[in-house]
Amino acid sequence: MKITSLEDLRKIKASATDQTSARSEGKTRIIIGLGTCGIAAGARAVMEAVLEELSKRGLKDVSVEGTGCIGMCQQEPLLDVIRPGEPRITYGLVTVQDVPRIVSEHLVNGRIVEDRLIGRAD
């Protein structure tokens, strides 16, 4: 395909930016506990659900990270959300069913999902 206008270049840029978005910084982060305890409690499925939900909604500027055990094994799967400039919100006992709610309520609309909330840190 030949690029003949600024519009063409912009389109390629938009799709290419999505491809490389995992490498950019300063965006909303979702951090999932992937220690042995997390995985045993179903964190992998939660992670996959998060990825699926993000791509379903076309949310590109969200990074999905894993982290090790933080010592709250009884609350696993743990899922943290950090929106730029906001405190770190920790959810516990997250199930695959909770994921769409967390994404739509918290990530998109900025409302914390209270019934899964277990902590907040600045």
Partner: protein, 597 residues
């Protein structure tokens, strides 16, 4: 298209490839498939990160975790621990020193903290073989802006405002050079990229070509538009096969998108780029010799004037810039000349890439704002001298440059200050020397290089460098006289003033600066027949201390010329008449019974 939650960047620069990064990359892909993570995690090959010393480098995003010295056997650990379980693999992190904590994130490394990456903006961050990744980082936006919104004069004015000066060594203002070429009237003009990079130890240009080839192509296209050229050449030494391969891929991709070739972006501007492989002669980096070489002639310089802007390649107006100069063009167009001019010093704007080598802890590629001090480069970015030995000198500017001393550590790095101190900015070679380096030997090393690389066309350079080298060799053998020093100085000035091209005109610099700042070392070689740094083979001896010798015989066993004798009863002795001063015995002696003096 799947969304990858994580990108694993494996360095594919020459340094890391030599360290086995391609096996690491292949193994990474295998392990991800095994763990069923290949739909979530993307493996990307990038260009050089500048920390080749610690390679192979692997960076895991989105966390930005920086792994060093990654061996194929470590890959499984990264996949199982980091990518599967989210646990950082501590043992692969960089530790600045035993006592300090290991560094997790890219940005926390002292090596990167003081850098300001413009020419290297994409190196180590994008896949150089994928034009889309370049476009994602604002690639070809500058070309679009120029073609759709600017006139050639606008472009030249922007370049002039930026204050950018040629990064190939001469430091001539780029905007002015473009203007000369634009004003030259002709039916045909050329733009050329100088990628000869002949300075021993320099690899700035190679890393840009390998890590971000499109930045050079885009810069050249913008320059061609401004000057009215429709054809360009990249003159790259054949010893850079990876750079040439990536350039070829990049040119093909840009042509496919209509960003090079006929009617670029639907306008009536056309520009094509060819690659010319050079055989790697230092003199071919000189602009007129380079053009002769492209034409198929012997790579010998031509007298200037006429300057290339009037009569260059095939006698047509031509403009030649260095790789790094070209790589700076797009950011200047996008952000404006004033933005670029806001960095650096009064007369030296922007940033400069240096290849930091020698006796510093962190060797590698750094891009720093002009005006930074040499001390900051060596001790902050470079982490200081290896084994915390004493700093002795910094050789800046390669074979055309000079040696600076401790007294110059706080000299700001800009064109004027370096020239005033007797060195030059050059193309960015920066070799750090410690107390064990002999300055006469260093001068000899660089002169050996220039003498060998002299093309032989003019007498002062051909014969003058030869005589200077012979004199230096005499001195390092302990056979010099005090008159030799005067003769050396006289010859140096003569060669400098009467040579045809920059090679001869600058070749004496290493000799002149060492004579100026380290004259006492020359005198020690002559008067006392000693080498203070204990580096010159003819002036040192290896001696076994019989009191410390435990008669193990390791030295004799390892001596390549079997000049050490002794047995279980008698301490070992070195036969000085046969000794070749290789130093092996000193290295292998477990009891430190051998000394050098």
């Amino acid at each position: 298209m799947p969304t990858y939650r994580s990108h694993v960047l494996v360095c594919g620069g020459t340094g890391c490839v030599a360290g086995g990064s391609q096996i690491v990359q292949a193994r990474m892909k295998e392990e991800l498939v095994k763990k069923g993570l290949d739909k979530e995690v993307l493996v990307v090959q990038t260009g050089c990160h500048g920390m080749c010393e610690l390679g192979p480098i692997v960076v895991v995003y989105p966390e930005g975790t920086f792994y060093t010295r990654v061996q194929p056997d470590d890959v499984k650990l990264i996949v199982e621990e980091h990518l599967y379980k989210g646990r950082v693999v501590e043992k692969l992190l960089y530790k600045p020193s035993e006592k300090m904590e290991s560094v997790k994130h890219y940005n926390e490394l002292p090596f990167y903290a003081k850098q300001h990456r413009i020419a290297l903006r994409n190196c180590g961050y994008i896949n150089p073989d994928n034009i889309e990744e370049y476009i994602a980082r604002d690639g070809y936006q500058a070309l679009a802006k120029v073609l759709k919104e600017m006139t050639p004069d606008d472009v030249i004015n922007e370049m002039k405002t930026s204050g950018l000066r040629g990064r190939g060594g001469g430091g001539f203002p780029t905007g002015m050079k473009w203007e000369f070429c634009k004003k030259s009237v002709s039916d045909k003009k050329y733009t050329i990229c100088n990628a000869d990079e002949g300075d021993p130890g320099a690899f700035m240009d190679r890393s840009i070509l390998e890590g971000d080839p499109h930045s050079v192509l885009e810069g050249m296209a913008i320059g061609a538009f401004a000057m009215g050229a429709d054809e360009g050449y990249i003159y790259c030494r054949a010893e850079y096969p990876l750079a040439i391969k990536r350039l070829k891929t990049a040119i093909a991709q840009a042509e496919e998108y209509g960003l090079l070739g006929r009617n670029i972006m639907g306008t009536n501007f056309s520009f094509e780029i060819h690659i010319k492989e050079g055989a790697g002669a230092f003199v071919c980096g000189e602009e007129t010799a380079l053009m002769a070489s492209i034409e198929g002639e012997r790579g010998m310089p031509r007298p200037r004037p006429p300057f290339p802007a009037n009569k260059g390649l095939w006698a047509k107006p031509s403009n030649i810039n260095n790789v790094e100069t070209w790589a700076n063009v797009s950011p200047i167009i996008i952000n404006g000349g004033a933005w670029y001019a806001s960095m650096g010093t009064e007369k030296s704007k922007g940033t400069k890439v240096f290849a930091l080598t020698g006796k510093v802890k962190n060797t590698g590629l750094v891009e720093v704002p002009m005006g930074i001090t040499i001390r900051e480069i060596i001790f902050d970015l470079g982490g200081g001298i290896i084994n915390d030995k004493a700093f002795k000198a910094a050789q800046i500017g390669g074979p055309s440059g000079g040696c600076l001393t401790e007294a110059h550590l706080d000299t700001p790095v800009d064109y004027e200050s370096l020239t005033a101190a007797g060195a030059i900015m050059g193309s960015g070679g920066l070799v750090i020397m410690d107390e064990e380096t002999c300055m006469v030997d260093v001068a000899k090393f660089f002169l050996e290089f220039t003498q060998r690389e002299s093309c032989g066309k003019c007498v002062p350079c051909r014969e003058g460098t030869k005589q200077m080298l012979l004199t230096l060799e005499r001195i390092t053998r302990g056979e010099g006289t005090m008159e030799d020093l005067d003769k050396l100085e006289e010859l140096a000035v003569m060669v400098k003033e009467s040579s045809l091209c920059g090679l001869g005109q600058t070749a004496p610099n290493p000799v002149l600066t060492t004579l100026r700042y380290f004259r006492h070392e020359y005198e020690a070689h002559i008067r006392e027949k000693t080498c203070p740094a204990k580096a010159c083979a003819a002036l040192i001896q290896y001696i076994v201390n019989p009191d410390l010798c435990r008669k193990c015989g390791l030295c004799a066993k390892n001596c390549p010329v079997t000049c050490i004798s002794g047995d279980r009863q008698t301490p070992y002795v070195i036969d000085q008449s046969k000794c070749i001063k290789c130093g092996t015995c000193l290295e292998v002696c477990p009891f430190k019974a051998i000394r050098k003096e």
